[in-house]
Amino acid sequence: MTIMENPAGYITADGRKIGGTLMDLRNITLRFGGVTAIKDISFDIREGEIRAIIGPNGAGKSSMLNVISGFYVPQEGEVWFRGQRRGQMRPYQVARLGIARTFQNIALFDGMSVLDNIMTGRLTMMKSNLLQQAVWRGAAEREETAHREKVEKIIDFLEIQNIRKTPVGRLPYGLKKRVELARALAAEPNLLLLDEPMAGMNVEEKEDMSRFILDVNDEFGTTIALIEHDMGVVMDLSDRVVVMDYGRKIGDGTPDEVRNNQAVIDAYLGVAHD
């Protein structure tokens, strides 16, 4: 724990650099009417790390991710991003800050091709205005080409070259998940949020996805926060883990620390709550 509390960052066992705090969540409480989904939770996400949020069903993990991405607005608490307190923001404004995400139930544009879907990830970066696009095509075309190149790199990276032109609606589940990741990556995010990136996948697909997540983190240095059910996967992937149960934080630390935490063991084995 001592190593991780160093505010300047640290070097992981496999030699990756973890920097200072990128996102800091302070005393977040989120209620839906009478139901409290998140109770007074605080944790941070450091630059360059893979941070996992785990917990049994209904623990409030997805709610937490939705708070970070601006889809839910917490009643109490503060969200700090890159050293600044984030005011109340709409989800699209959060996205423009460089926080990209995927969804548990996949939210893609089914009617568009894989390529078009991924291109939407770069929409907010495109600068040319309507007049340029309509009349003077030069600048707009150059811009489109530049963005296209970036997108092609991501397509290569995630090994989906052969389905580039396929309408997303026709793809199998596992590939859809990968396209969604590609779209999020296209935004070149500072923080990438993955909501159960491996849910419903078979072992082979899970291995592929794990590899991609590690590669993204390694090659682009992207900070990743993810929710996952598969404990094995979480322990292999993440640098630090937050454990939630019934809306509360019951553990926080390296995979090893969390694995040996009695409260976490109880939550997963189903010890009666008092």
Binding site: F71, P91, A95, F103, A107, F109, T120, L123, R183
Partner: protein
């Protein structure tokens, strides 16, 4: 031979009428695609646009009746006329302001509601706009002339007479409507396929959540789509207004757009065009061949019956997306 040529003329005229239907249907499709809302007020938008255009052109003072009634004045007109092109541009501006107001006052408060709620809201909007247009510009029937040629085209008649020995009667306004509609559709398709705003619009149409997550503002897209729909309504309003005068029954042409949409599919821009053409031609031919046998006046109901048949056999329309729900 003579009859065959007459039928050909009927088909031509039907196609031209169909274009006029398609112009109205287009506005529906745009809003339905982008927000899943069936915009009942599209017909009234066309009426409102036409009223505003005439009002601006003639230098009419808005709310003159209201002002006169309140202050005992006798105001009617600024005493100037505005050139057509400038008046059209100003009206387009008014339609954008209207889109802004609709988003701010109505749509924004209904985000995430059921489609039926939004549909009801557009019904309310339709009645409000009808009344608002009445108060703003007066309820009298107005003639609209933006310089579009009208009357039977001599060239078309001479040309067809030379070609077939039988001169077709084609209204010049209809020819212009066809040209304008083609240009409009080409522009709309180019916009939605090749610009980033168009791509964002398609994204919003497809999935709201996903659109938000890539940084697209739903508000902005909605204002944009309603502005475009307002512009399409303006074009439809100009065509219909020139053809049959600007009057409150103009808003009822929206009802003719309904069967067009059922045929073409609610989500397809080309579908709106093809649907309009089929209905335009279909009702003319039906009236000619079957009409006399059953007492005529079939044009008032033919479109709806055709739409009904389509609903039974192909509910998604010719070009609409088939929605298959997984169980």
């Amino acid at each position: 031979m003579e009859q065959l040529l007459y039928v050909a003329e009927l088909v031509m005229n039907g196609l031209m009428t169909g274009v006029m239907y398609a112009l109205v249907a287009l506005g529906f499709v745009l809003i339905f695609k982008a927000s899943g809302v069936f915009n009942y007020s599209q017909g009234v938008l066309a009426l409102f646009a036409a009223l505003t255009l005439v009002g601006i052109q003639n230098g009419q003072i808005p709310f003159a009746h209201l002002i006169n009634a309140m202050f005992g004045t006798n105001l009617h007109s600024f005493g100037w006329t505005v050139p057509s092109v400038l008046a059209i541009l100003l009206t387009a501006g008014v339609m954008v302001l209207l889109a802004l107001a609709i988003e701010k006052l109505v749509l924004r408060h209904l985000v995430g509601q059921e489609p039926i709620i939004l549909f009801m809201a557009t019904i309310g909007l339709a009645y409000f706009l009808e009344g608002f247009g009445d108060v703003m510009w007066g309820a009298d029937v107005k003639t609209l002339d933006v310089g579009l040629p009208q009357g039977i085209s001599d060239t078309a008649e001479a040309w067809t007479a030379q070609l077939t020995g039988y001169g077709f009667f084609i209204d010049r306004l209809d020819i212009w409507a066809a040209i304008v509609a083609t240009a409009l559709v080409a522009a709309l398709v180019a916009f939605s396929q090749f610009t980033k705003q168009g791509r964002a619009m398609r994204a919003v149409a497809d999935d709201h959540q996903a659109a938000l997550s890539v940084g697209i503002s739903l508000q902005f897209i909605w204002i944009m789509v309603w502005s475009i729909a307002g512009f399409v309504a303006l074009v439809a309003g100009i065509m219909w207004g020139t053809k049959s005068g600007v009057q409150f029954s103009l808003s009822l042409i929206a009802l003719k757009a309904l069967p067009v949409l059922m045929l073409g599919g609610f989500t397809s821009i080309p579908g709106a065009i093809v649907g309009g053409l089929i209905i335009g031609v279909g009702e003319k031919l039906f009236e000619f061949f079957v009409g006399p046998m059953i007492g005529g006046a079939t044009e008032t109901w033919f479109a709806y019956v055709l739409a009904l048949i389509f609903l039974v056999f192909r509910p998604q329309g010719l070009f609409g997306e088939r929605i298959i729900e997984r169980v």
